[in-house]
């Protein structure tokens, strides 16, 4: 299997994987970064969302072979101490139920708020529409994104 060098959460890491391996499985199985979740494998649910050069990206559709010269950030690297404004807002609003989709929700929200510092309710709902929460904690996700935008 070929080797690839990736920049994940500010560190250079070397992995051995087939070229078509999705970043999701490299993160989870090879690098033990299991905060990025497997939900659907076809970019429909958003549970696997990471940042690639700051852009919210579905890691299940991103092949490991095309990621050199990019900066990958996962939930584990979003902040040093879990105190990113989005993480803090998630805690204050007590968003999660089962919690499985929440790292993907947080990564989507964090990238969105970098682009749009003061979003309207409509913009928040549009931005978060791609991430499924099967427990339907949507009301709280919406509130937490709004709160994070105020505190950023």
């Amino acid at each position: 299997m070929p080797n690839y060098t990736l920049n994940v959460n500010g560190k250079q890491v070397s992995v051995s994987a087939d070229a078509d391996t999705p970043l999701l499985w490299v993160l989870r199985d090879e690098l033990n970064l299991v905060g990025t979740k497997f939900g659907c494998g076809i970019a429909q649910c958003g549970a696997c969302t990471v940042h690639i050069d700051g852009v919210a990206t579905r890691s299940c559709q991103m092949q490991v072979s095309i990621l050199d010269d990019t900066k990958i950030t996962t939930i584990e690297g979003l902040s040093k101490d879990g105190k990113h404004p989005v993480q803090e807002a998630w805690k204050e609003i007590d968003v999660p139920q089962c919690g499985y989709c929440q790292s993907g929700q947080i990564m989507t929200a964090a990238a969105f708020l970098e682009e749009n510092k003061n979003p309207s309710e409509k913009e928040i709902r549009e931005a978060m529409h791609g991430n499924i929460c099967r427990c339907a904690s949507y009301n709280r996700i919406e509130k937490a994104v709004k709160l994070a935008s105020k505190n950023s």
Binding site: M1, A17, D18, D20, T21, P22, W25, R28, D29, E30, N32, L33, V34, G35, T36, K37, F38, G39, C40, G41, I42, Q44, C45, A47, T74, I75, E76, L78, G82, Q87, W90, K91, D94, P96, Q97, C98, G99, Y100, C101, Q102, S103, I106, R125, E126, M128, H129, G130, N131, I132, C133, R134, C135, A136, S137, Y138, N139, R140, I141, E142
Partner: protein, 738 residues
């Protein structure tokens, strides 16, 4: 409350204490069974034994409290709310309480087995008594130290105070308290004096969730573990005939390709009856690989040939069969009052409607998975299960091993919704590991999960009512179920007791598609049918729909019928609360309202949906909810459950469709199966009835009324009744959403 029907309840039988080698007091206790006389208290935290006790409380020399409990968490928040109840009666500050449960990164805390998902309802008294007993032992120890009578002392927030104003912390007396005899008589707090229960407590796992720490079954791994991807029959009614794995074996990372099924078929051959074991008679092909991706990829490369062993069913067939079941004369009568025939004969008007719903997959966000390591000495099983005891028992039968050799460790679960009540995934994992003699983890893809599931069955209800002189004189509910039918208690929910001539009966069609429990089993759809029907009756009787329910409930308020499950008074209270909070009948122009109320899982819930038309299409803006679930332990968690339940109910009623053709599910992932998303989500406003009654269920009861409230709001806006789920299909047919 009795702990167990046959138990002579004694505190000494459910709780034991000891001094820890490292200092502090350890309390071991059991929820539903008494402790075995031989149950031994461990000497240190590393050797906590969850066979002898369901849970432990440690009070350190510094007065800090740690609660160790292996209770599974599927998202209903019991990991937070159950410890709150103990802490309340123990009377310590919530900030000094740590909950060490179900976490994979705790090496020194080996979970064994627990009695399954214990709800707040069944544990309320035991948890309170455990906390109160420990508190009393600490107070007695302080009294002995001061040589005063315990009744002269006061304990609050972890501190004991005597008549002279001197104080001792709990930590100062733990060693003495641990050696005292467990008291028989204790005093519980007055509910009005609660200081932890009733206040918001944030989910105890929040920091791990928001930073992506390993918590879930899919996150668990051990050195040398292989990933297993299982190829199951694509259609219900098929079994494996032959397969060619040549290509699959050439994929890098693939270690082996095997088949399983021989051992699991023992369950079928032996007629092993357990509703939590759901199995196929077919052999399954299993790819074992060093990575999940290699296993998934190789499975797709297997060329398999399947043969038909029973009918390949379709949605059209189900529709025909269930329709004929509705006409069946031979049924199971679940409740019958008065003389229905006479009521229909003498009626001014008879109204009859038929309601249909499709199959539904659970779609837990975390696909099914389980870890197994079967060795000659022991079997380790780890993963997301709601029924660890069933997993242990099933694997013991599967591999002909002693239960004592099998440990089941529970992880946090990425959703349950009923799917993780079944043991099929753990049985598969155990059979694979047994065959390859290696630690493995069975991992399902979303497609595996959705197409080889255990579904909410498709069902039809026929409801018929007789009206005479402006009153409902007769009510006849007939269920055309699949592989079973509603449990008997449901026939004693509303409107049982409100209508003099009454009958509920059920008949079933046996399908080869696996079916099972899905969030709020049966009532998830029955509530929609019934609550839509009453809305239609209100229109026919020219009565306000809420007033109609309140009028009917008067008849059940003083009932002597012990079979009636719900309370007329509590139902009336939630209806009145939602009527006020939801501004019933006073909404602004262009807002159309729909009402529904339902009792299930021991809680009473009423909902009002507010709907507007945008470009002629219905959009649900808001749902107001009133809930009576007794004492609300953790308001933020409780509201979260109800908000989620309501939106889940709306999502499935509006969008969920799951068809079969030639025995094969026609949706296999989220591109062809629609789940509700952010922009379709209404605001949900939750209000609780304040009372001092024991807490009841919350994970499910918010869901059943939601579909009915929305259907009735759609009718208010468009004059169109919904009889079939999903509603989008009904609306498309009438070109409203075309």
């Amino acid at each position: 409350m009795k702990l167990h029907k046959n138990d002579n309840f004694s505190r000494r039988n459910f709780l034991k204490t000891s001094v820890l080698a490292s200092g502090g007091m350890l309390i071991g206790f059991n929820f539903l069974t008494s402790c075995k006389p031989e149950a031994k208290m461990p000497k240190d935290i590393a050797s906590l034994n969850f066979n002898d006790f369901n849970a432990y409380i440690k009070i350190s020399d510094e007065g800090y409290v740690t609660i160790f409990s292996p209770n599974p968490e599927i998202g209903q928040g019991v990991k937070t709310s159950m410890p709150m109840i103990i802490a309340e009666e123990l009377d310590v500050e919530w900030k000094n309480v740590t909950v060490a449960q179900g976490i994979l990164d705790t090496k020194n805390y080996k979970r064994q087995i627990a009695g399954g998902s214990q709800s707040i309802r069944s544990n309320w008294n035991v948890l309170r008594q455990t906390g109160a007993t420990a508190k009393q032992m600490l107070v007695t120890a302080a009294a002995n130290k001061w040589k005063v009578d315990a009744s002269t002392l006061k304990a609050s927030k972890g501190t004991i105070t005597n008549a002279n104003g001197e104080t001792l912390g709990y930590g100062d007396v733990v060693r003495e308290a641990a050696l005292l005899e467990v008291p028989e008589k204790i005093k519980l707090k007055e509910i009005k004096d609660f200081s932890i229960i009733g206040k918001d407590a944030i989910n105890v796992d929040i920091d791990k969730i928001i930073t992506g720490k390993p918590l879930f079954g899919l996150d668990y791994k051990t050195e040398g573990m292989l990933y297993a991807s299982v190829l199951r029959p694509p259609s219900f009614g098929q079994v494996l005939a032959s397969f060619d794995a040549t290509q699959a074996k050439n994929i890098s990372g693939v270690v082996d390709v095997i088949t399983i099924g021989d051992k699991a078929r023992k369950f079928l051959d032996k007629g092993y009856v357990s509703w939590t074991v759901a199995l196929s008679e077919s052999d399954k092909v299993v790819v074992l690989a060093t990575s999940t991706w290699a296993a998934i990829k190789a499975k797709k490369a297997i060329k398999a040939i399947w043969k038909e062993t029973s009918q390949l069913e379709s949605t059209e067939l189900h529709h025909q069969k269930l329709t004929s079941v509705l006409d069946r004369k031979k049924t199971k009568v679940l409740r019958e009052d008065g003389n229905l025939t006479k009521a229909f004969k003498e009626a001014d008007t008879v109204i009859e409607r038929v309601y249909s719903s499709p199959f539904l997959p659970h779609n837990c966000m975390e696909p099914m998975n389980f870890y197994a390591n079967v060795t000659a000495a022991k079997i380790d099983l780890v993963g997301p299960t709601q029924t660890p005891a069933e997993v242990q028992k099933s694997v013991a039968v599967l591999l002909d091993r002693k239960k004592e050799e099998i440990s089941v460790e529970m992880t946090r679960m990425g959703g349950g919704f009923g799917r993780r009540l079944y043991a099929d995934f753990a049985i598969e994992a155990a059979e694979i590991s047994d065959k390859v003699k290696k630690p493995i983890k069975m991992v399902s893809t979303r497609e595996d999960d959705m197409t080889t599931g255990i579904y909410k069955p498709s069902v039809k209800y026929s409801i018929k009512a007789s009206l005479k002189g402006g009153k409902i004189t007769g009510y006849h509910l007939k269920e055309a179920a699949m592989n079973g039918g509603m449990y008997g208690a449901i026939s004693n929910f509303f409107p049982a007791g409100c209508i003099p001539n009454f009958k509920v009966e059920s008949a079933t069609y046996n399908s080869n598609i696996t079916t099972g429990a899905w969030r709020a089993p049966y009532t998830n759809f029955l509530a929609f049918a019934e609550q839509s029907f009453f809305d239609e009756l209100a229109t026919e009787l020219k009565v306000d729909p809420i007033q109609l329910r309140l009028n009917l409930l008067q008849k059940v308020k003083n009932t002597t019928d012990k079979k009636i499950q719900y309370s007329g008074k509590r139902m009336e209270d939630v209806i009145k609360l939602v009527r006020q909070k939801g501004n019933w009948g006073k909404s602004s122009n262009g807002v159309y309202q729909g009402f529904a109320a339902y009792y299930s899982h021991n809680s009473h819930v009423a909902e009002i949906a507010d709907l507007v038309l945008q470009d002629g299409k219905p959009v649900i803006k808001k749902v107001t909810v009133a809930v009576d679930c007794g004492v609300v332990v953790n308001p933020t968690g409780a509201k979260n459950q109800v908000e989620g339940g309501v939106i889940d109910g709306i999502g499935h009623a509006m969008y969920a469709d799951f068809a079969f053709k030639d025995g094969k599910p026609q949706s296999k992932n989220f591109d062809s199966y629609r789940l509700i998303r952010m922009q379709e989500t209404p605001k949900v406003e939750v209000h609780f009835v304040q009372n001092e009654l024991s807490p009841t269920g919350l994970g499910e009861p918010g869901l059943p009324p939601a579909g009915g409230a929305v259907a009735n709001a759609i009718n208010a806006a468009l004059g169109k009744r919904m009889y079939n789920q999903p509603f989008v299909k009904e609306l498309e047919k009438s070109t409203i959403l075309g």
